[in-house]
Amino acid sequence: MQKYSFLSLIKNAFSGHKGWEVAWKDPTPKKEYDVVIIGGGGHGLATAYYLAKEHKITNIAVIEKGWIGGGNVGRNTTIIRSNYMHDENGLFYEKGMDLWRSMSQDLNFNIMFSPRGIINLAHSDAQMNAYARRGNSMRLNGIDAVLLDREEVKKKVPVLDFSDNVRFPIFGALMQPSAGTARHDAVAWGYARQADSMGVDIIQHCEVTGFDISNGKIQGIKTSRGDIKTKKVGLCVAGSTSILAEMLNMTLPIETHLLQACVSEPIKPILDHVVTFGAGHFYCSQSDKGEMVMGGDLDGYNSYAQRGNLPTLQHVLTEGIAMFPFLSKLNMLRTWGGIMDMSMDGSPIIDKTHIAGLYLNCGWCYGGFKATPASGFTFAHTIAQDRVHELNAGFRLDRFSTGHLIDEKGLGTKTWIS
């Protein structure tokens, strides 16, 4: 594989940039693979990468219905954090933070990781207490957490509304200084390029149409580009999980919902951190291009449409303007939607299934992007070793029936209420 460096940039500049190799190939599917990963998003590509890198399995196909980076990995708001209270989540996402920090070097691809810190605003004494508790839990798990008072928040984010007559005054905040953002497309491209260089076949525009199962074991998959034999299949299809589950006669504790995001026109640097509203669901950061990147609640009803409706956007931006009054003066550049695999406790599922050789990775709700490296790392382990890694041991599929829920936000079981 051609290494990207300052030197290679200069060299190719002198030859008119005609010497660059393709970042990943466009192979025809083979008849048989050791492992097939369904879904060429961030998680699927990361899984293939870690299978090749950590477990030396390289005869892998990543099957993608659309194209690399066209799904949720290219539709999220790029936030990376590990500010969770429960051990299952905290330790898992903190492993992810370690992988994020070294990802540009590991992948030889600039993913533009920007650890600018995330600030969760608190709007009451009770919320400050809850944040102190969460911060302490985080620190016990080795995650950085700082409790900020009102004056400290004002110093860091002066554009917030600190006036006297607001409905939700700012009491303080919980900050994770090591959190931040990354260029989401680069994450997909970087993983794809490295996986491809180690021998992984990335097969785009190939839809899975069925599964070949006999004696409770996976034997292969049927696709729009022919049948493929394999003993191990990993599902990384996020919002489309229930569609594949139906082909497998499985009913899962997830529902597919629609989540919107939007960006404003670009403006000069005004916001140095990722900031979230504590009295509703709204988050905001400023991209390197200067756009305000914003998101919030689900549209609230089951949906596979990758486009949203205006009432939810209006609701979310009302919260945004309550936080940052200056937002009301900006033009909206673009809005879009993606489909989320909402699990019933708000935490993900990375597990084996009752079908031998079939592995499940789903239930990422609002937060699949930040999980990309840790999800790929642990899912690769689960597939290669046929047993869960200690970091995803809590993300069991049967935790709902056995009562071992990971109710991080106490959202309850009705995803549309969250």
Partner: protein, 89 residues
């Protein structure tokens, strides 16, 4: 914007409604022994189909009745609406 025809009030915008999820889910009978698996199916497991989906909506800012809506989850097209007690065949 979705427009939902409430069987009691007529066509109204989605702003007046709250979503109530899959209407085909049945609560286990109270007067019999219920297994963990039955509770699991009722509380957590959902088919979440792409395509036609019969679902509950609450006309919370209107007549406050629960209604059933047959809607396509990929196009958001609403085919029909029913009163809560109506059989949908």
């Amino acid at each position: 914007m979705l427009y939902i025809k409430c069987p009691h009030c007529g066509l109204r915008s989605q702003n007046e409604f709250a979503y109530g999820g899959d209407a085909s889910v049945k609560r286990p009978e109270l007067n019999k022994e219920i297994s963990d698996q039955e509770w699991d199916e009722f509380v957590y497991l959902r088919k979440s189909p792409r395509g036609k989906h019969l679902e509950l909506w609450h006309h919370v800012s209107g007549c406050r009745q629960w209604i059933k809506v047959l809607r396509d989850t990929s196009t958001h097209e609403i085919f029909n609406t029913y009163k809560s007690e109506e059989k949908v065949g």
